[in-house]
């Protein structure tokens, strides 16, 4: 009954509420857009980082050489810990990463690699296939003599799918070694995660480096929701008892993580600012509203509506105002970000790590949006609470005499 009255008051006096509703809508849109973009950036970083490092959670065994039996025992220990942790991995990777000394040769050209990734296509292929492949078939990487090179590397080498390239590495002791691979696929990836990254078979890379084919440096755990990586890392770490470093993948990208945190902090700062503006706006607006509706309130009181009901009516109207503002903000955010993400963005080296195939990436996280919405509603109610109490205390006799 009270809600019906509140709704009727709200709709009949929509012009009165319009300005503040638009302000809430605009503010919420602004915060929501920033948070969605930050979430999009975070997702891009996590997806790319997981591909680059081999999972959302990385367990580092270390680079020490070991025989097959030791490696098997270490692997068993890590796998058991993952199982005991209760984490349900989407995939588990075993990788050997080779640093900056790798050089790829083809037809007299050479390109130094930033990272040579030795991986098992069978277990990790589905995770890597998210790479934007511009030529060839990544499925052919099941061939242990296959390699995936970046578009930039391919261009510099003048190599195409089907060409044989030579990878030069230094063995564990330092001796130069070379191994030939057939280019199976060429991928397009952003600067830091891909220009100079080479994907090859792990056992082949291990042999080239002078290690046992079962050698691995890291075990990576892919999880379905990257936001759960911190929790998953903590649980696996607990099971391993600190024997190996276990870290969420963003730990390896400290600068980017700092940037994301800064952006997130800025968005929350704006949200707080918005909350203050809404609270002050509501307070002032409702003072005016209560003044304008003194006679109306007096009449309501005269026909038997109790004091608390008057207060609640005002608060319900404020609640409806906040809900409409938030709903409008969500709709506006969705429409604007969908429109913006259709526009191709130039691939500058600084920006491209945040883009999804050349387009701005965004994610509207329901939980974050709900928290923001709740905050806006609470602030609106808080702003309206003082005037609502004043309305409650209006004397009907006095109110009826008011012009």
């Amino acid at each position: 009954m009270l809600l019906q009255v509140a709704f009727r008051n709200f709709t009949r006096n929509s012009r009165r509420f319009l300005l503040l509703g638009l302000a809430i809508c605009a503010g919420y849109f602004f915060v929501c857009s920033i948070q969605s973009l930050v979430s999009g950036l975070s997702r891009q970083i996590n997806v790319r980082g997981a591909r680059y490092y081999g999972g959302h959670v990385i367990i580092t065994r270390g680079k020490e050489a070991a025989d097959a039996a030791t490696l098997a025992s270490e692997d068993r220990r890590i796998m058991d810990a993952i199982q005991r942790s209760g984490v349900h991995p989407a995939a588990i990777s075993h990788r050997t990463h080779y640093g900056v000394d790798g050089v790829v040769f083809f037809n007299g050209e050479s390109v130094p690699m930033r990272r040579v990734i030795g991986m098992d296509w069978k277990t990790e292929g589905s995770m890597i296939s998210g790479l934007q492949v511009v030529a060839g078939n990544p499925g052919d990487m099941a061939d242990p003599h296959g390699a995936m090179i970046s578009e930039v590397t391919a261009r510099r080498l003048g190599a195409k799918v089907g060409d044989q390239v030579t990878l030069q590495v230094n063995r564990d002791g330092g001796a130069v070694n070379t191994v030939n691979f057939w280019v199976k696929a060429i991928f397009r990836e952003v600067s830091i995660f891909g220009y100079y990254t080479l994907y090859v078979d792990r056992a082949e890379l291990d042999r080239a480096l002078g290690f046992d084919p079962a050698y691995f440096v890291t075990v990576g755990v892919y999880v379905d929701d990257y936001r759960a990586a911190d929790r998953a890392a903590a649980r696996i770490n607990r099971e391993l008892g600190g024997r190996y470093p276990v870290e969420p993948v963003v730990t390896f990208m400290t600068e980017i993580r700092t940037l994301l945190r800064a952006l997130s902090a800025v968005s929350y700062g704006i949200l707080v600012l918005l909350a203050v503006v809404i609270a002050v706006g509501i307070l002032n607006l409702y003072r005016v509203i209560i003044y304008e509706r003194t006679r109306e309130i007096g009449t309501m009181r005269a026909i038997g509506i109790q004091r608390p009901q008057v207060r609640n009516l005002i608060l319900l109207e404020a609640f409806l105002l906040a809900v409409c503002g938030v709903a409008g903000g969500i709709l506006l955010t969705f429409l604007v970000l969908t429109g913006v993400s259709l526009i191709p963005v130039g691939g500058s080296a600084g920006l491209d790590i945040f883009l999804d195939r050349g387009h701005l990436s965004w994610v509207m996280n329901a939980d974050a949006l709900a928290v923001d919405a709740l905050l806006v509603v609470l602030v609106t109610l808080a702003g309206a609470f003082g005037p609502a109490r004043a309305a409650r205390d209006i004397d009907p006799a006095v109110a009826m005499r008011t012009d």
């Binding site: 007299g108 030579t166 063995r171 002791g173 330092g174 001796a175 070694n177 070379t178 080239a208």
Partner: protein
């Protein structure tokens, strides 16, 4: 007395002949195969200066097909008995003052712009050319490699032993080598291979110059077997040629082989 003088003269001549023919001791081409480890030791000894310091001016010409040539000049100071060297670039102007200091197993690169020393590897390419940082250190073929095969071959005007070498440990940059040693005991050509047998580079030492009782190449030509480009439809390998001038065995101050000296020199 006359007879005594004649005997002394003949003796001196014989000794002189033996001394002169020492570098040709391996000239025998027939009969039993020589001791190849000894041959490597001798090849090392001929280009090593255990009793004196060595310094010279090196001029490098890098020929990258399709990208032209570039020239660099460096002063090289070596003290083989301590297995140390110091190299300072003097040309071109952009690289002037850059330097390398090898002390034992450590090798530092000095950049005068940042005034910082950074660790580098003896296996790295020297100034992005086809020479490696390890090419300037004393030769240790006999210590680093064992001989796994041999044959006789004529290399231009030189009769040579061709030795197949395999590194004794995994920390030697090139795990396999093929080496041409002429009958005078000097290395005339080397081919460096990767662990898997890939031919990586070829180095030729066509002319040596004698410094005291030892030898220093006058010119060294290094062909990169993996780098190059097609020029007019023909594949041309990347090449580094360096010449060594003004070799000297004059003693160098101990301070020469220090970071401070490199810093001061760079300024």
């Amino acid at each position: 007395m006359n007879r005594l003088w004649r005997a002394a003269l003949v003796g001196a001549l014989v000794l002189g002949a033996i001394a002169l023919s020492a570098p040709l001791a391996g000239a025998q081409s027939g009969g039993a195969a020589p001791d190849f480890t000894q041959m490597l030791r001798r090849a090392d000894a001929l280009v090593t200066f255990p009793d004196s310091d060595f310094s010279a001016l090196y001029t490098f010409v890098q020929d990258s097909p399709g990208s032209g040539t570039s020239t660099k000049q460096a002063m090289v100071f070596r003290r083989d008995k301590d297995n140390t060297y110091l190299i300072i670039l003097v040309k071109p102007l952009d690289d002037k003052g850059k330097g390398y200091l090898k002390s034992g197993n450590n090798l530092w690169f000095y950049d005068p712009v940042s005034r910082r020393f950074t660790f580098t590897s003896a296996k790295d390419r020297f100034q992005n050319m086809n020479a490696r940082n390890s090419d300037f250190t004393r030769s240790n073929l006999a210590g680093d490699y064992k001989v796994t095969g041999s044959s006789r071959q004529k290399l231009g005007r030189f009769d040579c032993w061709v030795l197949d070498l395999e590194a004794r440990s995994d920390d030697i940059a090139f795990p396999r080598m093929k080496i041409w040693i002429s009958d005078d005991g000097l290395v005339r050509k080397t081919e460096d291979y990767s662990y898997s047998g890939q031919h990586l580079r070829t180095t030729a030492f066509p002319v040596y110059q004698q410094v005291g009782t030892r030898f220093v190449p006058q010119t060294v030509v290094i062909l990169d077997e993996l780098r190059g480009a097609k020029v007019n439809g023909v594949f041309v390998k990347e090449k580094t040629t360096y010449t060594i001038e003004r070799p000297s065995l004059q003693p160098l101050p101990d301070a020469t082989f220090t970071k401070a000296w490199l810093e001061n020199l760079s300024e």
